[in-house]
């Protein structure tokens, strides 16, 4: 089988997509936004509780999507919870580089290792939008988004 496919649909990813973490509504959310993938019509919703110290106290996501977008959302929520908004945004920067196949120098250590499973997406340019949708939606929520983040 095609190596890049194997790489894309790794067990970790399939597992995340089948059993997404932090899935569902979030009581008491301070920030929410909806994201939309124009390619397939999939939508994702990002709910966050940002505390007084600009820390992401909690985060969930909702919505249906392909394995890539679901896994990406699931991993994202796993990784950003407990971090500061600034850290989350930095992580996003690194992630965007990674899935576009660019140098991701700003990703280090554990973060890099965890996110590396998504690096296979870079071989599938048409699917990059799927991988970034949740992240863009989170960003839009953090910015007090207008409810219409678009994947890029």
């Amino acid at each position: 089988m095609d190596d890049s496919l194997r790489e894309l649909y790794q067990d970790v990813i399939l597992d995340h997509s089948r059993h997404p973490r932090h899935f569902g509504p979030l009581e008491g959310a301070t920030n929410t936004a909806e994201g939309h993938n124009p390619l397939c019509g999939d939508r994702v919703k990002s709910n966050l509780i940002v505390d007084a110290n600009d820390r992401i106290a909690d985060i969930t996501f909702e919505g249906k999507g392909c394995a890539i977008s679901q896994a990406s959302a699931s991993m994202m929520t796993d990784m950003v919870v407990g971090r500061s908004v600034a850290e989350a945004e930095k992580l996003m920067g690194g992630f965007l580089h990674l899935v576009k196949g660019e140098e991701a120098t700003d990703l280090a250590g554990d973060d890099r290792e965890q996110l590396d499973v998504m690096a296979g997406v870079s071989a599938f340019p048409m699917r990059v939008k799927c991988a970034t949708l949740a992240w863009h939606t989170m960003k839009s929520a953090l910015e007090g988004g207008d409810g219409a983040a678009k994947s890029e």
Partner: protein, 415 residues
Amino acid sequence: MTAIPKTIKAGFDPNAARADFEIFAKPVYGKPLVYLDSAASAQKPRQVLDAMRDFASSEYANVHRGVHYLSAASTDRYEAARRTVQKFLNAKHEDEIVFTKGGTEAINLVSYSYLALRIQPGDEIVLSVMEHHSNIVPWHFLRERQGAVLRWVDVRNDGSLDIEALDAAIGPKTKLVAITHMSNVLGTVTPLKEIVARAHAKGVPVLADGAQGAVHESVDVQALDIDFYTITGHKLYGPTGIGALYGKRKHLKAMRPFNGGGEMIREVTRENVTYADPPARFEAGTPPIIESVGLAAAIDYMNSFDRASVHAHEQDLLTYAREAVREFNWLRVIGDAPGKGAILSFETDGMHAHDVATILDREGVAVRAGHHCAQPLMERFGVASTSRASFAMYNTRADVDALIAALAKARKILS
């Protein structure tokens, strides 16, 4: 590289046709291209590409505007293309054919130049839930802008149109029935003649979106007695950037212009403007001249085969594929209407259409995944998206075999 299909229908040899399509000479990820996305856009035979290139490099100039040799030659070709479309649809008059930039624009032209002038708040437009966005959004405009009401006609669970429901939806406030000739998702072919008869019985005109229908069915607008029929070049094995509207002469004559510019006027002064007769009235600016030549070549190409045999061949592929997917108990076909065209849409349990399409792609199998610009239909069947394999004259049973093998592989990877 082209496999031999197990049956070759009398009168049409798909492999001979296939040889005209140069794109199949180029492998995809080192594998033969299995192109099952012709409902989104068809590939173009060398006859079409050559016709355009030859024309552009030997007879090209702007049309209708000069007395010189090339201008005359170009105008002749452009107007000959109009007659080719006229014959293709069996329109009575050549001035009933308006060239547009595609199927979408053809429908918008009717919305802007015909229906917008006839809509009072509360007036109704009847359409089916299986319409393409191109036959929905122009009517939503009239809802948003002028208070029109959209009346939706459902399809049955097998995807067939409920003609009685359609009939019931046509009321005293109905100003137009806008319906597809063939669904780009379900493959359903609608009984246009019957629809027109019922609508006309209540004095209501009918527009058919023939983007798919004209590719797979023979069209005779006079026999149908239909008011408007739209086609698009790129699905007819022709170029992008061109389509056409057929409109009954009496309608076109009563319509106001759409775009304003050169060619569509009779006279322009500082104070006033008067308009040319149809079809010029609706062809503002330099038209898609080279594309008109390509469209005519595409129609000529289609007509160079026995169209009934081509149809039979496509039906064979559909049946063959329909039978083959029965072995997958995780796959649900959407659209099984009797007499449907060669389009197979399906949902896959626990596997998102995009993931399926990605895996198929790496096998060289091009299908489309998504909502297919038919979101109300997706909602009707309770899905967000489907995978769709669509068949054209150049496909073979070997293509279907490749599809089936790739689907099995997708299942293995994703579950």
